[in-house]
């Protein structure tokens, strides 16, 4: 499986990364190298192996349903490029 330039541009757009033509070409090579390696891994027969989603062989931890956080509007919005009246302020996004 090899990525063409259009796919690289599409993936970049989904990730909100701006790439110029030269960069697209560079990443096309890099990504294809990764995919080639995956292809190589694909040669291993894993039919009888359950897909692994985590390297630790245990179940996820759970917490009690208790309110332990929040109540710090100022700290939450402190690093925002723009904030007003306790809200984050962003360029208008509307359908």
């Amino acid at each position: 499986m090899a990525l063409d330039k259009a796919t690289v541009a599409h993936v970049a757009k989904l990730a909100r990364i701006k790439l110029d033509d030269a960069e697209i070409e560079k990443y096309q090579g890099d990504l294809n190298a990764i995919l080639d390696w995956m292809e190589q891994l694909n040669e291993v027969d894993t039919d009888s192996v359950e897909p692994m989603t985590a390297v630790v062989p245990r179940a996820t931890a759970e917490r009690h349903d208790v309110v332990t956080d929040g109540g710090r509007q100022d700290a939450v919005t402190e690093n925002a490029p723009d904030a007003a009246h306790g809200y984050f302020v962003v360029p208008k996004v509307v359908e």
């Binding site: 929040g70 962003v90 359908e95």
Partner: protein, 489 residues
């Protein structure tokens, strides 16, 4: 049960079209804190006052699953007669939007917590239909954007970001807007009985996306469109009907339906394309690296199973069997659990059949007119039960009972006290009734003549006159009898 209702069809230029509808419902889980953080999940706080650093997408924060949210999903799955998956996996659904600071939503993809189940929906005429449930999964909600505070800016409140949602996906089993409405009504009722979601569509704690396609009956499935942003059951019906007609017109003009996301505009009553979502379906799901698989022990599921409340369908069956009321009345009474509890009080204190009638017709009517919920009913279940007994044993007539009810609703007094106080007891003394009948007959010799000449409809007139003379207190059955015997003499 067999479906006697003719199937719903849209008639186009080229004939009849069938609708195929599937619904995705996002139901906000009732819990104190969020799905993955310790911030409060309550509605209505100051902006960004219920936000943990995790919810705001700050680096280095790790999600930990809320056990109550997991229990609520299991409880809902059991209520939908669905398979509980002992292993499920959280996944990242990647997209960019201003109200999603992480840049991804933690959701579940190919291994949801709940698998296939079903819901029986109630259709007119006492017909029921089974709609399949495809899956239920847990995911986090996004924040809220306010677009009307500033001409060129949007304001973002992340209080809702991270609150637990259950996404409940139906199979494409519905064939009309009414079936979709019945499905939502039933699902909402089940969730409220279970106490897993408050079902409040206005506040957005239950939201619905509808997948709609059309086809000629018997043809394979057509291309579907997904309608988003539908926030009432009435709008869901409107949106589905509009969208189906749009697709029929498009196909009949020689066009093809494009699979896309559309937005329902409630003001205009139409759906329109959301172009900005062009790339949105490329979510690049992958297993959430910050969370291990969710493993459910049998004992945990079993414990929840033991604590399940009686659900609307079971309650309906029991009401029919135990109280002898019609399946239709039973389905009306069980839709809201508060109504069902009230009716049980009436049935236990009084006559169950009369109780069903009086609860549905008089009480619901009066509460509706007064804009009061059943929990604030001025008439207690005990008193309404007593009223039905007074009717049943002949103490008061049904007509007088309406006056007594109005008084009860006004003052909250007990019916026997009102009857006593106002002297409303029904007259069942045959001597007294005969006297009244004689009076009326003597006063209307011409009508008596006409009646005997064959104009039997006049019986109603005589009954009315006698009742009027008795100020509504005469026993109508006895009045009828006495009149008939005197007139035929």
């Amino acid at each position: 049960m067999t479906n006697e209702i003719p199937p719903y069809r849209i008639t186009g230029e080229t004939g009849e079209w069938e609708l195929v509808i599937g619904l995705e419902v996002h139901a906000q889980v009732i819990s104190d804190s969020k799905l993955f953080s310790g911030a409060s999940a309550r509605f209505g706080a100051d902006p960004n006052a219920q936000v943990a650093f995790l919810d705001a997408g700050m680096p280095g924060m790790l999600p930990v699953v809320n056990e109550v949210c997991v229990d609520q999903a299991i409880r809902t799955g059991l209520g939908l007669h669905a398979r509980v998956n002992h292993k499920s996996v959280f996944s990242r659904k990647n997209y960019f939007y201003a109200d999603l600071p992480l840049g991804y939503q933690i959701s579940q993809y190919d291994e949801p917590i709940i698998g296939e189940g079903e819901i029986d929906i109630d259709l007119p005429g006492g017909v029921t239909k089974t709609v399949g449930i495809e899956r239920l999964h847990l995911e986090m909600d996004a924040g809220k954007s306010l677009h009307d505070q500033h001409p060129s800016k949007s304001y973002i409140d992340l209080n809702r970001a991270g609150v637990a949602l259950m996404e409940i996906v139906s199979k494409p089993d519905m064939r009309s807007p009414d079936e979709a409405a019945a499905y939502l009504t039933k699902l909402r009722s089940i969730l409220r009985y279970l106490g897993t979601c408050d079902g409040n569509m206005e506040e957005g704690s239950m939201r619905c996306d509808a997948n709609v396609s059309v086809r000629k009956p018997g043809d394979p499935l057509g291309t579907r469109c997904e309608i988003k942003n539908v926030n009432s059951i009435r709008f869901v019906k409107q949106a589905i009907e509009y969208e189906a007609r749009r697709q029929v017109a498009l196909i009949e003009e020689g066009g093809t339906v494009q699979q896309e996301t559309r937005l329902f505009d409630a003001r205009k009553g139409e759906t329109r394309s959301m172009r900005s979502k062009e790339h949105a379906h490329d979510y690049r799901y992958f297993p959430e690296p910050d969370l291990l698989p969710l493993i459910l022990e049998d004992t945990r599921v079993e414990k929840i199973k033991q604590s399940m409340p009686e659900l609307p369908d079971d309650k309906k069956k029991r009401f029919v069997a135990e109280y002898g009321i019609t399946p239709y009345d039973a389905s009306v009474l069980v839709a809201e659990k508060e109504d069902a509890a009230f009716y049980e009080g009436v049935a236990k204190q009084g006559d169950p059949k009369l109780g069903a009638n009086w609860t549905i017709t008089e009480l619901f009517g009066a509460l509706n007119a007064a804009g009061k919920p059943i929990t604030e009913s001025p008439v207690s279940a005990e008193n309404l039960g007593k009223l039905t007994l007074l009717i049943k044993d002949g103490t008061i007539s049904g007509r007088i009972a309406k006056d007594v009810f109005a008084e009860m609703f006004e003052t909250g007094k007990a019916p026997d006290a009102i009857v006593e106080e106002k002297g409303l007891k029904q007259v069942s003394d045959s001597g007294a009734i005969e006297a009244l009948v004689d009076e009326v007959l003597t006063a209307n010799p011409d009508k008596v003549e006409q009646f005997r000449g064959g104009k039997e409809k006049l019986l109603g007139f005589f009954v009315g006159q006698v009742m009027k003379k008795s100020q509504g207190k005469a026993n109508p059955g006895m009045v009828n009898e006495v009149l008939k015997s005197k007139l035929s003499a």
